[in-house]
Symmetry: C2
Subunit: 380 residues, 2 copies
Amino acid sequence: MLNQPVQLRIEHQDGRARSGTMITPRGEVATPVFMPVGTRAAVKTLDTDDLERLGPPIVLANTYHLMERPGADLIAEMGGLHAFMDWSGHILTDSGGFQIFSLQPKLSEEAATFRSVYDGSYQVLSPERSMAVQEALGADIAMVLDVCSALPATRESLRHDLDLTLRWAERSKQAHVRTDQALFGIVQGGVETDLRIESAQRTVEIGFDGYAVGGLSVGESRESMVPALAAATDHLPSDRPRYFMGIGDPIGLVEAVHNGIDMFDCVLPTRLARHGTALSSEGRLNLKNLKFARDDQPIDPHFQHPLSARYSRSYLRHLLVTNESTAGRIITLHNLAWLADLTARMREAIETGTFDALRGSIWETWAPEKVPPEVIDRSG
Amino acid sequence: MLNQPVQLRIEHQDGRARSGTMITPRGEVATPVFMPVGTRAAVKTLDTDDLERLGPPIVLANTYHLMERPGADLIAEMGGLHAFMDWSGHILTDSGGFQIFSLQPKLSEEAATFRSVYDGSYQVLSPERSMAVQEALGADIAMVLDVCSALPATRESLRHDLDLTLRWAERSKQAHVRTDQALFGIVQGGVETDLRIESAQRTVEIGFDGYAVGGLSVGESRESMVPALAAATDHLPSDRPRYFMGIGDPIGLVEAVHNGIDMFDCVLPTRLARHGTALSSEGRLNLKNLKFARDDQPIDPHFQHPLSARYSRSYLRHLLVTNESTAGRIITLHNLAWLADLTARMREAIETGTFDALRGSIWETWAPEKVPPEVIDRSG
């Protein structure tokens, strides 16, 4: 079974939602799984010991940031990213595509050219360089270098980015040689369902260990996002992991899983935490709010994780108001544990055939005014 | 034995250095002991779970900061400082004297008046208010409100501050009613040994559960500090805890213990950590230095604490250079563990009659050009 660097064993299905186990040479990952983001080889405010106690089976690190600081060669010399962080769980590295997209690169057939966020120097990222960097970093899963379209976009521009992404995907596959590292393709196409279908089909023709849906959750409405996502996942092989890049809000997660997604990542839960916002069974809580000043309850009385539930809202508000970084740390631990619990609840719901009821309850909590009609129909 | 809120059992002596156990209604504290500073009810970058894994038996919190934010009443309503932080170890609160000293207060016989660091409002701190606040916070050990002299100072000004400190000490003792909370007096007198002796004697006449030496390590030279410290401790009762306020460098610690001190606190190890400086058996290490970029050793190969030694200097330098707060956190854990180990080594040396050899080795590492002659003579 381990001739390939990643296998997916689907164990339960409920509609298009599925749960299972992703198997790599490193071990097993229960899916669906949320991957915390460790941009520069650390999840902000946490250390590796914290991650171990929190228990995510896989974290994400950013190829772009690490190739600039401290450099992929240095990390390779230190034994690779796992040794550098002293982390024995799984790691996925993105390709750098999304970061350079936000830096407004000049795109040529050959590569993307852009200015460094660190020193303003010109940097060039090609599929071949992204592969070399990711192989040096040594994550368990690498991503092809893709071209992410800014939305809204014309069909011409979406078509251009989609085609270039496919040519770069072929070059990425050619350049990628490590057999102990999985390589995932990335579907583009904006919110045009026909382009998403075409992108999915042509990416599958090239053939990858898993498939990501990129270029969504970048500012478009949920109503236009979901059909594009569904179009893509409908044309991806069911026996390969499917990864929705850059989504981390509870509704986004249930909608992704509802549409057959197995993996997701986002900076949202950790960024919100550092600004004092907690995910909870009551929805988002801004813990800086005066109303929490004398509230001795834990962040979420209905979800008490041992690393965070011992601290009261009152204590956390005090630490937030006085800018003590300890607050961001505790809420980071809480938010990541809360999302891990949500994915566990999704797995359980898929197993027991109650996924739509869970989906409905998440919508009711997080966007009660916007619950989609089919959820109301099916969760009763 | 527990009719008094604090007892000291001296178990070993080596010269004037002593080791033992401080006993309170909360439990026991092995001395000498370094107290990490949790200014606003958190040691910066750490949470209470971290403190428990690190294991200091006692931490310090700042009365001034907590009375301003979130306010002593709020903390009392939340069950006191131990419940607020969810910390079951010991806590000592300072009196606010040192913080207001740095805010250049207007002193009257009645109280100190100064501007808030939070909102610029006028604040008044009297001995009675300091006691009320500290009783509301509910630490195990409270401190009298003292008047700290800026050095260098004239004898007239030292005399004024010393006398006012004594009158405030009497008022503090009068105002202090909690029988489960110890109250320590504070010796002042600058670097004038005769004033230190007088201050110690008159403070002991008032009578406290323990005695602190304040107003030193505020910029004066080590050569003028040590005689003032020795003069004070020589006139404090040997069966009461002695606390040197605000010292945290390794040489300062061994000199304090050499002069009969049992307790100390300082923000130095935690502040240095957040700026990337580690305490080590090689002396201070600035981990931002380029020479550590590819150094895969732990911070201190000769002191490997499980919470910090798993991370390489290379990894920490990367996190420091990219401003990841995880670095400050890891080095904070290391520095506090390193100082706890130094105090453990001091206890062991006192027990085995080898304290001067340890003292000499600390001088050799941290100030090789300044080793005092008597240390060289006695450590051979």
